[in-house]
């Protein structure tokens, strides 16, 4: 095994040996044995490289067309980002692509990515993997008869990769995959996450997208019933909440503190959204600390009454507890619990039966088994059903729909919580707000929604994703946010004209949830982000996205006013998000780009409009010069058609 640290040698030595060694890849044999008309696009080659370079190295596209051309011609060459440095390079590595078979090539590891370039096949093939995606690296088996060692990379984005190289002769030298582990888990190795080094400058500044005060102002807060409080300015009331909070007018800051004592982690009920007409509100909090003895808090009861009173339209308040009632009851043993209807007059408690983070993690794990690397020819639907993934999605959407329906149709205020109010509660409030308020369905509005309901209200991204942390078995990891984005995708499927953003937008967000290229999803709370100076030291994902909005825009979008979405929450309408979970499978070629066709049509219209305008000018000029000649010129019929995009 030859190793070289210099980039110069890259590609100069082409491995002449074609090493098939495919026998070990039994995983694909099921589909291979199926000899009848299989759609087995070889786009595996291009798709792997195209999709990775297109989706995971956005920086190459940033500067518009020029960069694009560059990328296309050089997609199989490693393009370093600002401050990205090659750490190690190994030749003669075998990558066992589950779709193509074994490929020989060169692996480069930088402080941001793993780059595999195939040397024994044309058209060239490249694999570009941000190290943030790696969940764990495992050495598989001992040295085989040929003296190979192989490594498996389990990834957070629903794929596993396998590599092998010759046993080191020099036993003191580290394998490239040991080097990789160092940079894949910087937090565990006392290194810095790459986002702190990435210094790309974008025309837009994403850190300015969301400002809590102006978002409340957009909703008409403060008003006669709701005020903005600075009681949490130094995160003393609640260290997982944002500094700016909206609370009922008649709850003084002093009482808020007593309410905080009664709510888990001090997460008091605060305003998420207010209906512009009925003043019905969506408020969020954590569970009350009722405990086995059924403790009560006068201030908390008064608080919920105040929330109800702030809405003159209804004399009822709905409390949506996201958990199954059994779980909620079990929480009493740990001091938590739920509101009793005796203590909270005029309040009605509803359990939404959504399971906890551990159940969701297990469900996604099963889903990965079903979709990666290959889909079995038979029992696809029952296998999918056995993962329960879509059932969970259904329950979350159903909960959000009930909330939205109560607020919109019932004009009733709602309080939403789960245990801590930072997982299921985030899902429910943000989905309900998407259904209720068209603003959040725009690109910027969605960014605001994420910044507010998820990031500022302390969804623990660091813990749930485990950025740069090698402890892959951590029970705090869970795909809560992925699940939410999946729900959003389901909504876009049901309402193809109601969202300004497209599927690529959602996939990009999820890719950079893991990539550690941007600072957006780092840390667990606003307080931590402030302490780490994230906005100062890293780039926001929204800077990247907002600098090239066209890529993320849904051409079918129509900005209807007062358009509340009531999705059909039924498995009949829920689908597996193939474009995300199965995108690595080359047989899963992306569906024909309808959006492309739409853009062509838009261009066509613009061109025609231009020609009509030109001709009209010509005719007007001509008729002006020789007005007597043609009395009935066609000018009158030419009225420009409206152009709305």
């Amino acid at each position: 095994m030859e190793k070289s640290g210099s980039v110069d040698s890259l590609g100069s030595k082409r491995s002449s040996s074609r090493q098939p060694s495919v026998d070990s890849l039994s995983s694909t044999s099921t589909s291979r044995s199926d000899r009848s008309a299989q759609t087995k696009p070889h786009s595996a080659m291009s798709s792997d490289s195209v999709s990775t370079s297109a989706e995971l190295s956005p920086e190459l596209r940033v500067s518009g067309l020029q960069a694009k051309v560059l990328r296309d011609s050089n997609k199989e060459e490693l393009q370093l980002l600002p401050n990205e440095k090659v750490q190690d390079l190994a030749q003669d590595v075998t990558y066992f692509c589950p779709f193509i078979g074994a490929l020989r090539g060169i692996v480069t590891v930088t402080n941001y990515r793993l780059f595999f370039k195939c040397t024994d096949r044309d058209p060239a093939f490249a694999l570009d993997l941000p190290l943030g995606v790696v969940s764990r690296v495992e050495k598989i088996g001992g040295a085989s008869s040929r003296g190979d060692v192989s490594y498996g990379l389990v990834c957070k984005d629903v794929r596993n990769l396998r590599f092998a190289h010759k046993q080191m002769e020099d036993t003191l030298r580290k394998s490239i995959f040991e080097v990789l582990m160092k940079f894949a888990f910087p937090v565990s190795n006392g290194l810095q996450i790459f986002a702190f080094e990435y210094g790309q400058v974008f025309p837009e500044n994403g850190w300015k997208v969301c400002d809590a005060v102006s978002e409340y102002k957009r909703q008409g807060i403060p008003n006669e019933s709701w005020r903005i409080t600075k009681v949490n300015d130094h995160y003393e009331l609640c260290d997982t909440y944002p500094s700016t909070l909206a609370v009922p007018v008649n709850m003084p800051d002093e009482e808020l503190k007593r309410v905080a004592a009664f709510r888990a982690k001090g997460r008091i009920p605060v305003l998420s959204w207010i209906h512009p007409e009925s003043q019905a509100t969506v408020t969020r909090c954590s569970q009350p600390m009722v405990g086995v003895n059924g403790k009560r808090s006068k201030e908390d009861e008064k608080y919920l009454q105040a929330i109800m009173d702030a809405n003159a339209q209804s004399h009822k308040l709905f409390i949506f507890d996201a958990r199954p009632s059994v779980n909620a009851a079990a929480n009493k043993m740990k001091g938590g619990g739920y509101e009793s209807e005796d203590a909270y007059q005029n309040a009605e408690l509803v359990f939404l039966d959504i399971h906890n983070i551990h159940v969701m993690r297990e469900s996604l794990r099963k889903l990965k088994d079903v979709v990666y690397p290959n889909i079995e020819d038979s029992h696809w639907l029952s296998n999918l059903e056995s993962t329960h993934w879509l059932e969970h999605i259904k329950l979350i959407l159903a909960g959000a729909l009930r909330i939205a329906d109560k607020v919109e149709s019932g004009k009733t205020s709602v309080v939403v919580h789960c245990s801590d109010g930072w997982d299921r509660t985030c899902q429910l409030t943000s989905l309900a707000m998407l259904m209720l308020d068209g603003y959040y369905r725009t690109i910027r509005g969605f960014e605001v929604l994420l910044e507010k309901e998820w990031l500022s209200f302390g969804h623990r991204f660091q813990l749930r994703i485990g950025h740069g942390d090698k402890n892959h078995t951590d029970a705090d990891r869970s795909p809560v946010f992925i699940q939410f984005v999946d729900c959003v995708w389901q909504l876009t499927r049901q309402f193809p004209a109601a969202f300004e953003f497209n599927e690529n937008f959602l996939v990009t967000i999820l890719d950079h949830l893991y990539s550690c290229l941007f600072g957006t999803f780092l840390c667990n709370s606003e307080q931590q982000r402030l302490k780490e100076e994230i906005p100062k030291r890293t780039v926001s994902l929204w800077s990247y996205i907002n600098s090239q909005l066209e890529e993320f825009t849904n051409p079918f979008y129509v900005n209807y006013s007062n358009h509340v979405l009531f999705p059909a929450v039924s498995l009949r309408h829920l689908e597996l998000w193939v474009g995300y979970y199965i995108r690595w499978n080359p047989r899963m070629r992306p569906q024909e780009p309808v959006h492309q066709r739409y853009k062509e049509l838009l261009a066509k219209r613009a061109e025609l409009q231009k020609r009509v305008d030109e001709l009209q000018r010509e005719v007007t000029n001509r008729s002006a010069s020789s007005s007597s000649e043609r009395a009935g010129s066609p000018t009158r019929s030419i009225t420009p058609v409206q152009t709305f995009v």
Partner: protein, 751 residues
């Protein structure tokens, strides 16, 4: 009492006509009616239910609401059927229920009913399930209406289907217009393939120079199930064909379907009685002298690879049960595995997969393909039409698609009468093969949304038309039966001899029989990418100049006269095969890849050419349930203000704007040499708009399209997925009744 008659009365004199229905079609007769009937509409409560009159005529079951609700502004409205009408041929099963006595009975023809029904449930072939309650209606008249519906939906004879009365009357009343009009064949542009010229044009279009039209089956002299004109190899003389015919089931000489530009041909054939003859026949029919590669002929025994007609029927019955009959919430629980267990999507996939493999042989291996099936009238209809749909973009236009159905189904002798079971005589013969085909086509549309000129609405409406007995397309088992029936019919109705059948008993393709011009625009796909491609005109191959912007030619629609001859496949086929050879040297095979896998891999590695070959993606996860078709009547599954139609809405408006601009441009440019005179400047465009949703004026603010939902343009009406009056889900109540399956056994169970 009429129900007590021991002998089977004739259909017509069974009940005295009550009155001639004026609101309905011509010559429609009301057989029986009952007032104060409640039609169940809403899921949870009865407050939305409609009160009105239930009528049975010799054509349909009709419900006339007392207070007609305001008509919805935008919605497909049938010219012959109202919203609450069900043609008798569309009835799958008539079930009467007596709630208080806990009795139910599936009614057949000429039966007794020992209880007074409190409810009538109609299961329809278009998947509607409709329930009427008689709680306020006269018990005797309710019973009479139920019996009349059951009886009249089981006509004793084909000629008694309402279409025969209707078309006879229509012919005489509108004769002047038809005959004096200069448009031949009632203005129909779709080739019917009942005359040599239609076949001849198809031979020329596909460049099948080794094939000829042959008329030995004129007057059905050789085979009872073949059309009068068929296409056979030039190398075989009529005498040879006559000799060969005895080898085949029903003397069906092999049928030519289609020719690839590389010379390979698609042929369908029955089983051969004498195995020794098989190889000889294969050779004579497909290896043509000038075939460039002279490759081996591929013969595919369809029955070996594909499910049988009864498997398909039972899959359809199951999927229908899950989608529209089972209680909504109950079937929600195990939705995916239930769908899987029905095997419907599996069968859809198997058919697409097998067809794709045939595409590989024809295109990738330059081999001719013979589709072989026992009698060549069922499975091969599906496969041959799918193969052609994948290979030849012509069939993806509306006219092309209709000609494909005409050629591979109607003329090839698919037994529509038996498979649809219009006479409800033999349920073992019933099988939704055509429906399966339409679902396969929908899967292709779903994957390639801009490759087809028509929409899923078109496919759905086409499937519904099978159950309206007014068109000659779906009524007969063979061209011979059709021809004889229509000759008798012409004699009875005093239609002069020599009058074209297409004129006096038109096929379904004359859509203006059913829908207004405006409603027909719902068939047009705004995303369709047609192309100016080589085409045949008056038998002469001409090439259109390929325009850079591929859509420019279709946006205005190709002139109808040229559409028939549109030919897009050939040139792209050449390009594709040359690409393959270019890539070959550097393309090391992947693992143990078969040549066909390689072929598909190559194809998928390049962007799909909408006007070239199209191969569907065939992973199980690519197969989707056709929601518009299966769920359109289910209110619980309806997405308000959503569904794919909302994108279609926006797209149509954009295309409409483009067409307005193009119209304006033409006005400026004035008549160009050789073109027809243009409309005068400022002339109205609106009457010829191709899009259903037209451009809005800038002053209108966008408002949420309230009328749009995932069922559009259909309206979900009441069905059974709901609790019954007393809280019991009706379908549970009906447990044990083998709904959809045999009425035979149940007919005789008096409960």
């Amino acid at each position: 009492m009429f129900s007590g008659k021991p002998t089977k009365p004739t259909f017509k004199c069974y009940l005295p006509p009550v009155q001639v229905c004026i609101c309905g079609s011509l010559c429609e007769i009301v057989v029986n009616e009952v007032n104060f009937v409640r039609k169940c509409i809403s899921a949870e409560s009865s407050q939305d239910d409609l009160w009105g009159k239930l009528i049975c005529t010799n054509f349909k079951v009709s419900f006339i609401p007392q207070d007609a609700p305001p008509k919805q502004k935008l919605k497909l409205s049938h010219l012959l059927l109202e919203e609450h009408d069900i043609p008798l041929t569309c009835l799958e099963q008539v079930v009467t229920v007596n709630d208080t006595k806990g009795k139910k009975k599936v009614l057949g023809s000429n039966q007794k009913l020992k209880f007074n029904p409190t409810e009538l449930i109609l299961y329809c072939k278009d998947l509607r399930v409709i329930r009427f309650c008689f709680d306020e209606a006269g018990p005797e008249s309710a019973k009479k209406v139920c019996l009349a519906i059951a009886h009249y939906s089981h006509p004793a004879d084909l000629q008694l289907l309402f279409g025969f009365d209707y078309q006879g009357r229509r012919y005489h009343e509108s004769k002047g217009e038809w005959v004096n009009g200069s448009v031949p064949r009632g203005g129909l542009q779709t080739p019917i393939f009942d005359r040599p010229s239609d076949w001849d044009r198809e031979i020329k279009r596909t460049g099948a120079s080794e094939w000829r039209v042959c008329s030995i089956n004129e007057h059905y002299a050789i085979s009872q199930s073949l059309p009068e004109y068929i296409v056979v190899p030039v190398s075989l003389a009529d005498q040879d064909l006559k000799q060969h015919s005895s080898f085949f089931t029903d003397q069906r000489i092999p049928l030519w379907c289609w020719n690839h530009s590389n010379g390979s041909a698609l042929v369908r054939m029955t089983a051969i009685n004498d195995p020794l003859q098989q190889r000889k026949i294969d050779q004579r029919y497909t290896v043509i002298k000038s075939h460039p590669q002279r490759n081996e002929v591929v013969r595919s025994d369809l029955e070996k690879f594909l499910p049988g007609i009864q498997d398909i029927q039972s899959a359809f019955v199951k999927v229908r049960q899950i989608c529209v009959v089972d209680p909504f919430e109950e079937s929600e629980e195990r939705w995916f595995s239930s769908i899987e267990n029905s095997r419907w999507l599996e069968y859809v996939r198997v058919f697409l997969k097998h067809s794709a493999e045939m595409v590989y042989y024809l295109d990738g291996k330059n081999s001719s393909v013979i589709l072989q099936e026992e009698d060549d009238r069922d499975l091969s209809c599906v496969v041959s039409s799918l193969v052609q749909l994948m290979l030849d973009p012509h069939y993806r236009s509306i006219i092309g698609f209709q000609s494909l159905v005409q050629k591979e189904w109607v003329m090839a002798g698919h037994r529509f009468l038996d498979r649809c079971n219009h006479l409800k005589k033999n349920e073992k013969e019933e099988s939704p093969l055509f429906m399966l085909f339409l679902d396969c086509v929908w899967q292709m549309i779903n994957q390639y949304p801009s490759a087809f000129e028509f929409t899923e609405t078109y496919l759905t409406v086409l499937s519904d038309s099978m159950w309206i007995p007014l068109f000659s397309t779906f009524l007969f088992n063979s061209p011979k039966q059709r021809s004889h029936c229509l000759m008798d019919f012409a004699k009875n109705k005093a239609i002069p001899q020599g009058e074209d059948q297409v004129v006096y008993f038109p096929p379904v393709w004359n859509w203006s029989q059913q829908f207004s011009a405006k409603d027909q625009t719902l068939f047009n796909n705004p995303m369709y990418v047609g192309k100016g491609a080589p085409c045949v005109q008056n038998g002469e191959v001409k090439t259109f100049r390929r325009t850079k912007k591929t859509f420019s030619s279709t946006m205005r629609g190709t002139p109808a006269s040229l559409r028939n001859g549109l030919r897009g496949g050939e040139d792209s086929l050449h390009r594709r095969s040359s690409l393959v050879s270019e890539l070959k040297p550097d393309f090391s095979p992947v693992k143990d890849e078969s040549p066909s896998e390689r072929f598909f891999r190559d194809w998928f590695s390049r962007p799909a050419n909408q006007q070239g070959i199209l191969i569907p993606l065939l992973l199980p996860s690519h197969m989707a349930l056709w929601k518009l078709f299966f769920l359109r009547w289910v209110p619980e599954a309806c997405i308000a203000r959503g569904g794919p139609i909302t994108a279609y809405h926006k797209l149509s408006q954009l295309v409409d704007e483009i067409e307005i601009l193009q119209g304006q441009l033409r006005q400026y440019k004035g008549p160009s040499p050789g073109s027809t005179p243009l409309p005068s400047p400022g002339g109205p465009l609106s009457d010829q708009r191709r899009m259903y949703f037209t451009a809005i004026s800038p002053s209108d603010p966008p408002t949420p399209p309230d009328f749009l939902n995932s069922s559009f343009p259909f309206t979900p009406v009441g069905n059974l997925c709901r609790p019954g009056v007393h809280g019991t889900p009706i379908s549970k109540f009906l447990n044990g009744a083998r709904i959809w399956l045999s009425t035979e056994t149940l007919d005789n169970d008096a409960l």
